[in-house]
Symmetry: C2
Subunit: 439 residues, 2 copies
């Protein structure tokens, strides 16, 4: 299916590039496009639609106004051409040309307004008939724009500090079943998880504040166990309480968590949006775990939506401390290359913003630690396993232990096979989870 | 390109349907799917992933818990099967089966939490390898869920009341150029538009609060003209000031508009998210114009994302009074059938919620009134023309007049040709805009 190769495998040849000018005050966005038009014409049209132009010339669009405010085509790299368009609704053509293009805008078009940035670099673009494919793959933002946002209050270093885990990955889990447990049942599980030595526990994204597990009641019960455990052992387990809700409930539940001595919470970023994320993260009292459910809607098509290079920056500026990036050999569709790139993006330079802690998840059970370490050489990750811990043959403690064994052996340069011979918990994990088709 | 036919043209045969049970307490979601698996298996997997299940059985997922909390497959209608998957990343198969399925959840899984509903009915679904296509096309929500939200404070009737336009479509425009005008230039344009008899004016979605047109300064200058015009003529032109920003700025700008005697504002719904929309609309002092830029990202692919049947309900519950639905023969990619369906959806039964006023836009100039009227038989619309008014050969007043002529003649059952013979402004619009390829 060559027409739908993942974005990371597309290749381009540089066709046009503007001479370098001072870009310090310009927003740059990189797109993978497919168009029935000559690429330069399509790129110019995109720049016009998203700045000073409309579908016909209007009297007040003077040359001076255009010179100052028009978006500019900075770079065009041509890719392959195809006979069948990737998306419906484009103008008809014999061939559709793919390209990677860079467009820039003066910062003064947008100001330091994150939602307005989204409307500018994405907005109506996806609806244009001049494109049969369009994906925003990266953003480069002026320092002045980024300085308007604190970004992650905690990020990697802050998460380590609050959790007391100074080395190795944080090992975490999701309360399962996702829905249906009472606060008491949840607490019983949390108690077992604490005893098993877990670092991080979170609500499932489906669990917020339903009648059978009211937020406040669940938070109180869970925090009693976590606080007791911290007092007894000195170890503070982080629990990401799911705040995802309307604005007032999110604030109220945030207050509840703080009052109970909690140190973390989570939001489903796509479900709450940037202004809510800015507000929640802006308080800076809790480590905010960013769940990106809905990501597939925005990224699964190689020529529609947004890539993590752009997406990750938006949420990092909004202040999310941890962000889901799937994991190597995950149960979802996302390819390992994209996962590795997303992990890197979490720590890439973004002016003075703290690195986000990547959250590896989706069918993780320890076995993937080896390939993850080999390809990223970092343990600055939160490694989340739901079923991989809950359904471990030796029980929850066995599941946590197996994951720690896997990471320690991976860092030591061992193979999974060798590690499984050495450690029985990891061996049992391999026997249960390792032979399955990822499902 | 039969593989990418618009969703509205897909056809299905009923395969399975549960016997009717009391659905009053269940959330129902309808999906168009494509899967490498037997459809019933894929549907069951979807239901499991989004309720009580995970990728392996976990000890606490008891039969009692499943019975009470599991999502259920309510209906399966089989469609065609295809050899090539619509999206990458699915399990390999010789054929991929398309189907329309209905899944239901107990209301108590979600509570009355709109963002949590989104995570439940969309969430991780798009990432599952069991699907090579998945689009949420409709939602049916229990009365108890809907009662938790006021919905549009104004909607169609309220917009008519505030604007004083009791009959016919509201005629509106967007300030163009989108960016670059100073508050004084914007005001000069607004003054002309008021004199031309316009009903509604809005900021472009690219224009919020940039250094060259600070929100407060623009709002003050514009409202002076609008208030003067209202005092002199008794006609109150609505101006949709673009609030799209972080939470505090949105609230502050809302206050500014109210203090200046403004009656409307706008938000880019996808850029601000549901909690911010709930909060802004919840104040109920301003008619809120919902701009859905970014819609193409969510809807352009026939087997990815969300259809207006579901999308429109979410934002209507959030309280948006007016919503963009493109227009007949628009400059964007969206097909007329989808536009007509979206217009109907704005007024479809949703318990006691007021109808949303559909906003027709994107390359409108009056000529499309005839087909719009023929197919919808309603004038409960806001008909927005940017270039169609600004670039009219007889000037702005000619542009507004041409649109009113078009709608009046359409309601009288005339053709565009006959109407253009009768009215010179409309004839000039036809001459300038009517012969072009929609671009």
């Amino acid at each position: 299916m060559p027409d739908l190769a993942p974005a990371s495998s597309l290749s381009y040849n540089l066709l046009e590039k503007r001479r370098p000018t001072d870009m310090s005050e310009r927003i740059r966005a990189t797109y993978d496009i497919e168009t029935p038009l000559p690429v330069a014409e399509a790129a110019a049209m995109l720049a016009g639609e998203q700045s000073s132009g409309t579908f016909v010339a209007v009297p007040s669009e003077t040359p001076e106004l255009r010179e100052r405010f028009a978006a500019r085509v900075e770079e065009i790299c041509a890719g392959e051409s195809v006979a069948t368009p990737a998306l419906p609704g484009a103008k008809q053509a014999a061939r559709y040309q793919r390209a990677r293009i860079v467009i820039s805008w003066p910062l003064e078009n947008v100001g330091t307004n994150l939602p307005a940035l989204v409307s500018t670099v994405q907005g109506n673009l996806y609806e244009l008939t001049q494109f049969s494919g369009l994906k925003l793959v990266d953003l480069s933002l002026p320092a002045e724009f980024c300085q308007a946002f604190r970004g992650p209050a905690f990020g990697v270093a802050g998460t380590r500090e609050v959790s007391g885990v100074s080395n190795g990955p944080l090992v975490g889990t999701i309360v399962k079943p996702s829905v249906g447990l009472t606060p008491q049942q949840t607490t019983a599980l949390v108690s077992q998880l604490c005893a098993a030595g877990i670092d991080f526990i979170k609500d499932d994204e489906l669990m917020v504040n339903p009648p059978h597990s009211p937020f406040d009641e669940r938070a109180k019960a869970v925090m009693r166990v976590i606080n007791d455990h911290a007092e007894r052992t000195g170890k503070r387990v982080l629990y990401g309480f799911n705040l995802t809700d309307d604005y007032d409930n999110m604030q109220r539940h945030y207050d509840t968590v703080v009052a109970l001595g909690g140190k973390a919470a989570m939001i489903s970023v796509n479900s709450v949006g940037l202004p809510a994320a800015l507000k929640v993260c802006g308080r800076g009292e809790l480590v905010i775990h960013g769940h990106r459910n809905g990501w597939g809607q925005l990224n699964r098509h190689p020529l529609l939506g947004i890539g993590y290079g752009a997406y990750g920056k938006l949420w990092r500026l909004a202040g999310v401390d941890q962000m889901h990036v799937n994991g190597i050999d995950n149960k979802f569709w996302e390819a390992d290359d994209d996962v590795v790139n997303s992990i890197r993006e979490c720590g890439a330079e973004l002016h003075d913003k703290r690195p986000v802690m990547p959250v590896l998840s989706s069918g993780q059970w320890g076995g993937q630690a080896f390939e993850t370490w080999r390809r990223t050489q970092t343990t600055d990750v939160l490694y989340l396993a739901g079923g991989g811990i809950m359904a471990h043959p030796d029980g929850i403690a066995g599941g946590v232990t197996a994951i720690r064994q896997a990471w320690a052996c991976a860092e030591d340069g061992m193979t999974l096979e060798a590690a499984a011979k050495r450690h029985s918990e990891l061996r049992h994990a391999v026997e249960k989870f390792g032979r399955k088709e990822p499902s």
